[in-house]
Every structure is written in structure tokens, then in C-alpha cells.
């Protein structure tokens, strides 16, 4: 059996704001197996963003262990962490974060460039074709709609064939229809075996996760208690299904 994609134990992270100590992560365990599609949910201030940053290797936990795809990364920093991000993680952000004045193709080529791949074009073309933008490859990002931009971002996340696609509020800047299209895209990618973790506060989006990791006050809420602590809105949405 392969190692889990995410195997994090007892993650702790404390921020200081003035005199106040905020325990953003207070002994969090997260386990995501290969091929899973998980949703990390939680209200603002629940530690969800911090968890996403730590799992995404953008930040280090104060303590705890984190094995990403079998590799211990909790103690890494700087350029080593950058290389881990480059090889193992594909990010999709709420604000797309495409570079202006570069074509869709060039945006998708970026991670490969940092990976030192000499001829990134065919791979970038393949990734863009996969997200349905084969005919928009040479458009600059300001010539694309929001949905198309996010597709480019998904292609950029996929192009390096990462172990994990980490999406942070991927539908937050999209209307519900295009948001649903992006989620459908994630679904089909997951069906192809991609491991996907979506961070969201939106219960509608969280539904897409086969499994929910719900954060509250810096800790993961056990699965059987989610319904009670969760908002009525989420329960309502579940009922409507």
C-alpha cells in the first residue's frame, strides 16, 4: 500500500498578536490517502487557512510531523520547501493569481520552468487541453473570463503532475454556474486518480469532498460531531440533495 499523500500529526502553530497568543493549529492530525478528494472547512479564524498553508508547504508548523507523499517536510524551509512545492503540490487560489501580460500557455509553463524542464511547451499544451482551453492557449489572462482564468490556474496546478492539488476557495471569485463547472472539473480529475484537497468555508463546495475535515478553534472536529457544530445552512443543503 502506498504512503498516504498527507500524513500530518500533532501540528501546532501559534501566532502572537500583541499580548494575545492565538493557537491557529492546536495539535491537528490530518490523513489524506492517494486518490482522495477531501474538503477542509471551517469558519474564518478556525485555523483553516493556517492548516492550508502548512499542508501546502507555504509555512512551517511550530511542532508536529508532516509527511507529504512519504517525505518529511515539517522541518524544511526556504528553497528546500520551494522545491517541494514545485514537485509535489499544485495550487489553485481564489484570486487565480495568473501573471498579467503572459499568455495562458506561458502561465502554465511557469512551474515547469522553475523545475528546470527544458521544453515545457508540450506539457503545458496538454494540461490546457485537459481543462478544455485548447483554443485559448495564446490568450493573455486579461482576455479570459473568470472561469477560464481559473481553468488556466488548474492547468498550471496539474502541469507538474503533483502528488496533491490544493485548492484554496477555488470558487470564491466565480459565479455559481462557473463555480460549479470548476468543481465538476475537480471531480473528473479526482475520478482520474488525482488527490485533491479543497479548502472552503462554503458548504456547497465542501459537499464535493468525499470527506470533510472540519476545523474549529485550531482543532479538527471529529466527523460524528460535524453536523452539530456546523451551520444550519450546511444541514439544509445536505437535506435538499
Amino acid at each position: 500500500m502506498p504512503a498516504p499523500v498527507i500524513d500530518a500529526r500533532q501540528l501546532r502553530k501559534t501566532y502572537r498578536i500583541g499580548d494575545q497568543e492565538i493557537r491557529a493549529l492546536d495539535g491537528v492530525d490530518v490523513l489524506v490517502e492517494e486518490g482522495e478528494m477531501a474538503a477542509i472547512t471551517g469558519a474564518s479564524g478556525s485555523g483553516k487557512s493556517t492548516l492550508m498553508q502548512v499542508l501546502g508547504c507555504l509555512d512551517r508548523p511550530d511542532s508536529g510531523e508532516y509527511f507529504l507523499d512519504g517525505e518529511e517536510v515539517a522541518k524544511l524551509a526556504g528553497d528546500r520547501l520551494a522545491q517541494i512545492r514545485n514537485r509535489k503540490i499544485g495550487f489553485v487560489f481564489q484570486g487565480f493569481h495568473l501573471l498579467p501580460r503572459l499568455s495562458a500557455l506561458e502561465n502554465v509553463e511557469l512551474p515547469l520552468m522553475y523545475a528546470g524542464i527544458r521544453d515545457p511547451r508540450p506539457l503545458a499544451e496538454e494540461a490546457l487541453a485537459r481543462v478544455g482551453l485548447a483554443d485559448r492557449m495564446n490568450n493573455e489572462s486579461n482576455q479570459l473570463s473568470g472561469g477560464q482564468r481559473q481553468r488556466v490556474a488548474v492547468a498550471r496546478a496539474l502541469v507538474g503532475k503533483p502528488s496533491l492539488v490544493l485548492a484554496d476557495e477555488p470558487t470564491g471569485n466565480l459565479d455559481s454556474k462557473t463555480g460549479a463547472e470548476i468543481l465538476a472539473l475537480f471531480n473528473s480529475l479526482n475520478a482520474e486518480g488525482k488527490t485533491i484537497v479543497i479548502v472552503t468555508h462554503d458548504p456547497e463546495v465542501a459537499k464535493f469532498g468525499r470527506r470533510r475535515i472540519h476545523m474549529s478553534d485550531g482543532g479538527v472536529v471529529p466527523a460524528d460531531r460535524i453536523a452539530r457544530t456546523d451551520s444550519a445552512r450546511f444541514a439544509g443543503a445536505e437535506a435538499a440533495k
Binding site: G78, N86, P111
Partner: protein, 408 residues
């Protein structure tokens, strides 16, 4: 590939803020332009001084009476040198090509009702060879005429014009200090040398000058032309030894003459030109420095503006050096671009300055743009890019990806 992408992103981000980029670059343009035009000015001045000095010949030694004091100030004015000294130098010192004893004074020349105050030199025929003059019309006087104290004169072209206008001077008789002289030749024009006009002079046999005009027993100077490839210093030493012996100087006595080596003067002029280049060059460099500060400013703004881009690049795997190199590259790009425009400005100014000076009614004035100064200016502007771009680039490279991604 990496380079191409950097170039593209860099150029595009410059073009996205055309006015701002231009203003940032302006400092470099002006700086490089100033360096180039200042160096061209220095080089032009140096070249024209050198041309004038070397027109007298690098092989020229001038022996004068009196001691060479420290710092070149002559002390003592005792007239100690004779025609016989000159003959002895010519006959006995190795490496001497030509020797010309000289007496001189500013005298009134008259031709009918026309007057000219002109420096008159009593010389031997070899003076022309020593001082690099040539006869334009007529002829030089001969050794026989010197021996016979003939009353003949060779005059400069300016003097000829002053006295004769457009008439032919050769064969005419002029009065030098009231004594009749026959004009037998006119020198070729040499051009004004700034401190003395060699075209305005009269040359007469040294014997005639000493006995009949100035009434002196001693010569003012002895001009010596050394043989090519012999080495001026050996000749200087030879002349020194001979004159000390002839003047019966004891070992502890100082020389009662001094020998000026024209090659040394050329060296001095070279040094002077070099110092001038440094001075003017550093003046220009100050504006280049100020331009560099402008670049640093604009790079800091660019880095701040593109915080989100930096965050994204770091998130997808850019290492610190990738980010640093990107912004360093852009800084170098701006400065290199400014450098090229600055060279154009500098060359333009270098061409314009002589023209303006001429329009203002001044004498000819030359500037010289040397390839070296262009290369140096371009090199320096790239160095400015690296130097002033490094801090902003480093700052970009050190950004925390989490903070940078969140930046609005």
C-alpha cells in the same frame, strides 16, 4: 528558455508603465550621456594639445641658460651659452641630428608704410628642420649666408600677409629695426598653437641677429633635434656633460643651463589629459550615481507592486535566487537600455558642443568619442543596474510567500 521568459516579463513590465520606466531610465540616460560627452571633451582637448605639442617634435631638446629650479621654475638668468657651445654640441654629442642656436626678440618690421610687431629669431638653417617648419615659397638661408652675416629673412605666412597683403614678398626688402633685409622665403602655414603663433615670425641668420640687431654675445637657447630611436635621455646626458666641461663647472656646482625634453612635455601633457579625463569623467559619474538611485527607487516600487506575483512564483516553486535574478535582470535591462540611449545622447552632445562653440565665435574646438569610453559607460550602467538593483531584488527574494500571496 528561462532567459527568454525573464526578458519577456521584464520588457512587458517596463512597457506596462512607459512613462514611469522612461523617467527611471532618464537618470541613467543623462548620467551616461554626461560621462560620454565629458570624456569626449577631455579626449578632444588632450588630442588637440598633443597634436600641437608633437608638431614641435618629440625629439626636440631645448637647452637654455640658467638653472632648472625645483618644480620647473627657472632661477638665475645668467647668459652663459655661446655659438661655440652650439657648434660643440653638434660636433661632439652622440645622437644629435640637428642643432640650432637661437636668439630672439620682438621687433618692429617695416615694409614701406606697413608695420608689424613680430618675434624675430636669429637662427641657423637647421632651425627649420629642428622646429618642423617648411619653406612654402622662396628658399631658406644657407650656412654661407650665416657665416657672412647676410641680411636675409624668411618670414611666416601671417607676417607676410600683415606686411605685404596679397603682394609677393619674396625678393622685397623690409626694415628690421631699421636695417634692410631681403625677404628670400615664406614659411608654410602651421596653424595657431594657442600660446604662440608660429606663422607670425621672422627668421634671420643668427650671426646677423647677434651682431647687428640685438648686439649680444650669447644665445638665448640651443634647440637640438635628436636622432630617431637614440633615446632623448642619452643625448640630454651627453649635452649636459659637454656643457659642464665647456663652462668649467666644478663637481659641486649646479648646472648653469637646463635642458627641456619635449618628450617629457608630451608625457606631462598626457598625464594632464588623463587627470582631466578622470575629473570630467567623475563629474559625469556623479549624475550616473544619481540615476542609479532613481533605479533603486523604481525597483523598490516595482517589487512592492508585484508582491502578489512574487508570492505566486514562490508558491509554484521559485527559489530565492530565481526571484532575485528576475528583478536583477529587470534592473540591468532598464540600465542597459538607458545606457544605450545615453551613449546616443553623449555622442550627440559630443558632436553638438564643437558646433555650438564655433557658433559662439570661438576658435575650433574638438571633441573625441573613444570606443573605450562608450564601452566603459555601458559597462558602468550595467554595473549600476546590478548594484542598485541588488537590494530591491534581494528584498523580493526574501518575501514570505504567505504574506506575499495575501498582499492586496
Amino acid at each position: 528558455m528561462m532567459f527568454w521568459m525573464l526578458a519577456k516579463v521584464g520588457v512587458k513590465s517596463l512597457l506596462a508603465n512607459k512613462l514611469r520606466s522612461f523617467l527611471a531610465v532618464l537618470g541613467i540616460i543623462i548620467g551616461v550621456g554626461a560621462v560620454i560627452s565629458m570624456l569626449a571633451l577631455a579626449a578632444g582637448t588632450r588630442e588637440s594639445i598633443m597634436a600641437r605639442v608633437s608638431s614641435m617634435g618629440a625629439n626636440l631638446l631645448i637647452v637654455r641658460p640658467g638653472q632648472a629650479g625645483r618644480r620647473g621654475i627657472m632661477t638665475g638668468t645668467a647668459q652663459t651659452m655661446t655659438l661655440e657651445d652650439a657648434q660643440a654640441v653638434a660636433a661632439q654629442v652622440e645622437g644629435v641630428e640637428w642643432v640650432a642656436p637661437v636668439v630672439s626678440g620682438s621687433l618692429q618690421l617695416k615694409y614701406f608704410n606697413k608695420n608689424a610687431q613680430t618675434t624675430t629669431f636669429g637662427v641657423t638653417p637647421s632651425y627649420l628642420a629642428v622646429r618642423n617648419f617648411a619653406v612654402g615659397r622662396g628658399r631658406n638661408f644657407t650656412d654661407v649666408e650665416v657665416e657672412r652675416m647676410a641680411r636675409v629673412a624668411v618670414i611666416g605666412p601671417t607676417t607676410a600677409t600683415n606686411l605685404f597683403g596679397r603682394d609677393e614678398p619674396v625678393g622685397e626688402t623690409i626694415k628690421v629695426k631699421g636695417v634692410n633685409f631681403t625677404v628670400i622665403g615664406v614659411l608654410q602655414a602651421k596653424g595657431d598653437q594657442g600660446w604662440a603663433n608660429p606663422d607670425d615670425q621672422a627668421l634671420i641668420p643668427v650671426t646677423t641677429a647677434m651682431k647687428q640687431i640685438f648686439g649680444v654675445e650669447r644665445v638665448r637657447e640651443i634647440d637640438v633635434l635628436t636622432a630617431d630611436g637614440f633615446g632623448n635621455q642619452r643625448v640630454v646626458d651627453g649635452i649636459g656633460a659637454l656643457l659642464r666641461q665647456r663652462h668649467r663647472l666644478a663637481a659641486r656646482d649646479e648646472d648653469d643651463f637646463n635642458i627641456r625634453d619635449q618628450a617629457e612635455v608630451i608625457d606631462t601633457m598626457n598625464t594632464f589629459g588623463f587627470v582631466m579625463s578622470i575629473l570630467l569623467g567623475s563629474l559625469g559619474s556623479i549624475s550616473l550615481l544619481v540615476g542609479g538611485i532613481g533605479i533603486m527607487n523604481i525597483m523598490l516600487v516595482t517589487v512592492a507592486e508585484r508582491t502578489r506575483e512574487i508570492g505566486l512564483r514562490k508558491a509554484i516553486g521559485a527559489r530565492e535566487r530565481d526571484i532575485r535574478n528576475q528583478f536583477l535582470f529587470e534592473s540591468i535591462l532598464i540600465c542597459g537600455f538607458g545606457g544605450v540611449l545615453g551613449v546616443a545622447l553623449g555622442v550627440g552632445l559630443a558632436l553638438l558642443i564643437p558646433w555650438l562653440v564655433q557658433m559662439a565665435g570661438q576658435e575650433q574646438f574638438t571633441t573625441l568619442v573613444e570606443l573605450n569610453s562608450i564601452l566603459v559607460a555601458l559597462g558602468v550602467s550595467v554595473a549600476v543596474g546590478v548594484f542598485f538593483g541588488y537590494y530591491p531584488a534581494k528584498r523580493a527574494a526574501r518575501m514570505d510567500p504567505v504574506e506575499a500571496l495575501r498582499y492586496e
